[in-house]
């Protein structure tokens, strides 16, 4: 039976900079020094609540530092939350760690393979940690090596593997014990397009076997292609939640026309707002004196001549125009005023 994931009012404040990939290096030093140095309190999660349904492919989308990896860290027992609760199925993540670890498989943001072992040994020992018997773990390791196209390198130490090979092996390892919930933290970062497609296929296939998948990404295309539902997070908050289609439909108009002007006249934004088809106009970067405007509208290219003549009439010089179609990128921009890649 498929297993869901639930988090409630999750907060995490790091007392030193959050470790890369939020999976921790020593933060003991900051504590030991006590009052000598003022501690920098960095809130990574600021009261996140989410429910991921059993058998769903769920995406956490957001820019770097939004709190995606910390959320995954808490759900995978690797980060201790400052407050709030998290469950995998019926099991509290913090109270029933060993039980929870049985149910989950984790693909980290950076490969953390055991460099003292060969590729095949990594899979075999991983299965042994999970109590899988000798015969079964050998068969499963061979099958996964084959599936991830690693059979030829199976008996080599992984130190010399390329980034893509390490990533494939990390995913194979996470699947070794057939977990009910698979966590993938930025799974396609650094992968070539071919491997990315292989990865997507494998994720879909895993999902079809009735498993729950939670992935984090800052790649819109990936979120759009794979996820049934998405949470867009920024600064430790969920700012939007829904299906990719539903989220995109929630952008006013759908199209985004980003305009830049050499100079700007005071009433330009109001005049842009009055053009037919325009739903919302915002000063670029949220500043009133900025020389740009983000225009949300239900049409794109056909709006340009009108904008150009309007700008010319009001004495503003148009210096740059960018039209984007309805996308999650626009959605993020709409909610935060920032681009995902900023």
């Amino acid at each position: 039976m498929a297993v869901g994931v639930r988090i409630q009012d999750l907060r995490k404040v790091y007392s030193s900079s959050p470790p890369l990939g939020a999976t921790g290096s020593s933060i003991a030093r900051a504590d030991a020094k006590g009052g000598k140095q003022p501690k920098t309190q960095i809130p990574a999660l600021d009261g996140i609540s989410l429910e991921i349904l059993p058998g769903e492919i769920f995406g956490l989308l957001g820019p770097n530092g939004a709190g995606k990896s910390t959320t995954v860290g808490v759900l995978t027992t690797r980060v201790r939350p400052t407050s709030g609760q998290a469950w995998i199925g019926e099991h509290g993540v913090w109270k029933e760690q060993a039980r929870v670890k049985h149910l989950i498989g984790v693909v980290p943001q950076r490969p953390n393979l055991d460099f003292s072992l060969t590729a095949r040994e990594i899979l075999i020992f991983h299965a042994a940690y999970f109590g899988i018997g000798h015969k079964h773990r050998n068969e499963r390791a061979d099958a996964l090596l084959e599936k991830f196209k690693l059979t030829e390198r199976a008996n080599q130490m992984v130190r010399g593997f390329s980034g893509g090979m390490m990533q494939r092996l990390s995913i194979a390892r996470a699947m070794m014990h057939d977990p009910q919930v698979l966590f993938l933290d930025e799974p396609s970062a650094g992968l070539d397009p071919q491997t990315r497609i292989l990865l997507w296929e494998i994720i879909r296939e895993y999902h079809q076997a009735g498993k729950t998948v939670l992935l984090t990404t800052h790649n819109m295309e990936e979120a759009d292609a794979l996820c049934q539902r998405l949470a867009i997070i920024d600064h430790g908050h969920v700012i939007a939640l829904g299906t990719p289609v539903g989220l995109k439909a929630s952008i006013p108009g759908g199209f985004l026309v980003r305009l830049r002007f050499g100079n700007q006249t005071p009433d330009l934004l109001q005049r842009l707002q009055s053009l037919p088809g325009v739903r919302e106009v915002r000063a670029a970067d949220g500043a009133a004196d900025s020389t740009g405007a983000d225009v949300y509208a239900d049409r794109g290219g056909s709006l340009i001549p009108e904008i150009a003549s309007l700008a010319a009439n009001s004495g503003a010089e148009l210096s740059d125009v960018h039209i984007s179609e309805p996308s999650l990128e626009n959605l993020f921009l709409h909610h935060t005023g920032r681009s995902l890649r900023d």
Binding site: Y14, P18, P19, L20, G21, A22, T23, G24, S25, S26, I27, A28, G73, T76, T77, R78, V79, R80, Q97, A98, R99, K101, H102, I104, V106, P108, R110, N112, L113, D114, F115, S116, L117, E121, I122, F125, H126, A128, Y129, F130, G131, R173
Partner: protein
Amino acid sequence: MNWKTFGAMLARDAHVARRNAIQLLLQTFLQPLLFVFIFGRVMVGSGYMPAAYKSLLLPGIIAISMVFTGIWAVAMPLIAEFQWTREIEDRLLAPIGVGWIAIEKVIAGMLQALVAGLIVIPLAWLVLRPGVEISIHAPVTFAVIIGLVATFSACGGLALGCSINQQHIGLMFGMVITPMIFFGCAYYPWSALKTFPILQKAVLINPLVYASEGLRATLVPRFSHLPIAAVLTVLLFFDVLLLVVGLRQFEKKAVS
């Protein structure tokens, strides 16, 4: 507690130790054996040292080999695996409490320290002979002492390995391991320090002193040594202290 997971992690460590066996043997035994050769053979043979020094030296060499091996076997892999590669993560995600992973490392280190102690005895004996007179007078006491020594070295490795970063390994050897070896009463009995009364008191904070003196008390009791009861008590104290500190440091490193 999940015994299958625990066993599999021990098997992994044994597998890696077997793979690195030659390197491990060289780094563990080369230095003590050279020391044994120079001081036990060359210096004694040329008359600069009395012949009895051979028998006095051997327990100290066993203690150094065990302590060094235990610390090294636990600390070095932990330092590497907690660095940015985060290799230890696959074990942190294994279905077992995080503290047990540290305990497993300690057990693996203890076993390696015991093996080191058992190997260095015949090796040193071969280098030193003839003229070494050692015998195990109290086998139970001897077993308890080497057990306690193995435990404190592995727990010390855990505490050190979880407290320092890769860039400080050199410092660890310079500031911790080297003074510990030289002030560990391995190359001389504790009573030889009586002409340096302050130093004689100061070295008592060094757990290696109790390891050397304890082994001396059980293998060559005719030389003066610290009372066995004191040795056992202090070694046990260090075992518990270093285990508690080590576990705390491990959990701090493991969970952010």
